[in-house]
Amino acid sequence: MDKNTNVLIVDDYKTMLRIIRNLLKQLDFSNVEEATDGQEALSKLRAGNFGLVISDWNMEPMTGLDLLKEVRADARLKSTPFIMITAESKTENVVAARAAGVSNYIVKPFNAETLREKIEKVMAHA
C-alpha cells in the first residue's frame, strides 16, 4: 500500500473530516486533502491527482453517491478507488453504491481497524 498516495476525504461535518484525517495520519497517510461536498470534491479531483477517495453520502448540493457516479463517468478518474463512509446503512443504499461502482463501504460509526482494513483492500486492487 502506497502511503504517499494523495487521499481526498469528503464530508460536510468538519469534525468527521478531522477524525478521518487523524486516523489516516496514524496509518501514515500524510498527503490528505479535504472537501465538504461532492461538487467541491469533484473540482479537486479533476484538478489534482488522487489515489483514493473517502466520501460521506449525505451532503448538499452533491451527495456522495452522485460524486461516485461522476467519478466513474470521468475517463481520467474512473479507476480511482472510492470508499463510502456513511450512516446510510440500508441494503438499498449499499446496492445502489455497488451498482455505481463503489470500491468499499463503511457504515458509521466505524473504528480505525475497519478503516485500515478497507483501505488496504481497495488499494491492493488499485
Binding site: D11, Y13, K14, T15, M16, R18, I19, N22, L23, Q26, G38, W57, N58, M62, T63, G64, L65, D66, L67, K69, A87, E88, S89, K90, T91, E92, N93, V94, V95, A96, R98, N104, Y105, I106, V107, K108, P109, F110, N111, A112, T114
Partner: protein
C-alpha cells in the same frame, strides 16, 4: 327512496318549501338518515370554522423556530466539545515520541479510541437534522390544513423533490433496530463478487 314530487318550472317555490315537500315523502328510516346527514353537515361546518380559527402564528413564528434553534445549539455545542476533545488528543499525540515504546503504544491506542468515539457528533448531528426536518414538515402540514379553510393564511413552498438517486436515498442514520452492521454490509458486498 320515493321520487320527490316534481317542482313545476317557473313556480315561485323557495328551497325550504321544496325541502319540506321532499321530506313529507320520506319514511321513518329515511328521515332518520337525513337527520344524521344534517347533523354531520353541521359538525363538518363547525370543524372547518374551528380549523380556520386556529392560531398557528405561535406555532410557526415561535414554537417551531425556537425548537429548531435549540436543536441547532445542541449540534453546535457537541461540535465544540468534540473539537475540544480532538485538540487534546492531538496534543497527546505530540507527546508520544518522548514516551517509551510501551507507554507510547498505550497513549496511541487510547487516542485512536477517542477519535473513533468522537464520531458520535456526526451521527447525532444527522439525527437532529432529521428531527428538524420533521418539525418543518409538521409546520407545513398545519399551515396547509388551516390555509385550506382560511384563505388568508399563506401557504409555504413545499420541499423540492429529490432530483437524484443519491438525494432520494439520503435518509441519514437508521434506528439501531433496523440498521445494518458493518458485517451485514461486508456480506452483502461479498455476495456481488
Amino acid at each position: 327512496m320515493p321520487d320527490a314530487t316534481p317542482v313545476p318550472a317557473g313556480t315561485d317555490m323557495v328551497r325550504p318549501e321544496v325541502a319540506l315537500q321532499v321530506m313529507s315523502h320520506l319514511n321513518r328510516t329515511e328521515s332518520a338518515l337525513l337527520a344524521e346527514l344534517e347533523s354531520l353537515g353541521r359538525m363538518v361546518a363547525a370543524a372547518k370554522e374551528e380549523i380556520a380559527a386556529m392560531r398557528v402564528e405561535n406555532v410557526d413564528a415561535t414554537h417551531l423556530p425556537a425548537a429548531t434553534d435549540e436543536l441547532d445549539e445542541v449540534v453546535r455545542s457537541t461540535a465544540d466539545a468534540a473539537n475540544e476533545i480532538l485538540d487534546v488528543c492531538e496534543a497527546l499525540e505530540t507527546l508520544q515520541p518522548r514516551l517509551d515504546a510501551e507507554a507510547a503504544e498505550v497513549v496511541g491506542g487510547c487516542v485512536t479510541r477517542i477519535y473513533e468515539a468522537c464520531g458520535f457528533q456526526d451521527i447525532t448531528g444527522q439525527r437532529i437534522g432529521k428531527v428538524v426536518n420533521a418539525l418543518k414538515e409538521i409546520e407545513r402540514r398545519v399551515r396547509d390544513t388551516t390555509g385550506r379553510y382560511a384563505p388568508s393564511a399563506a401557504l409555504p413552498a413545499r420541499h423540492a423533490p429529490a432530483r437524484t438517486e443519491g438525494e432520494r436515498l439520503a435518509n441519514g442514520p437508521q434506528a439501531a433496530a433496523s440498521a445494518s452492521s458493518q458485517a451485514d454490509i461486508d456480506a452483502l458486498l461479498a455476495s456481488f463478487d
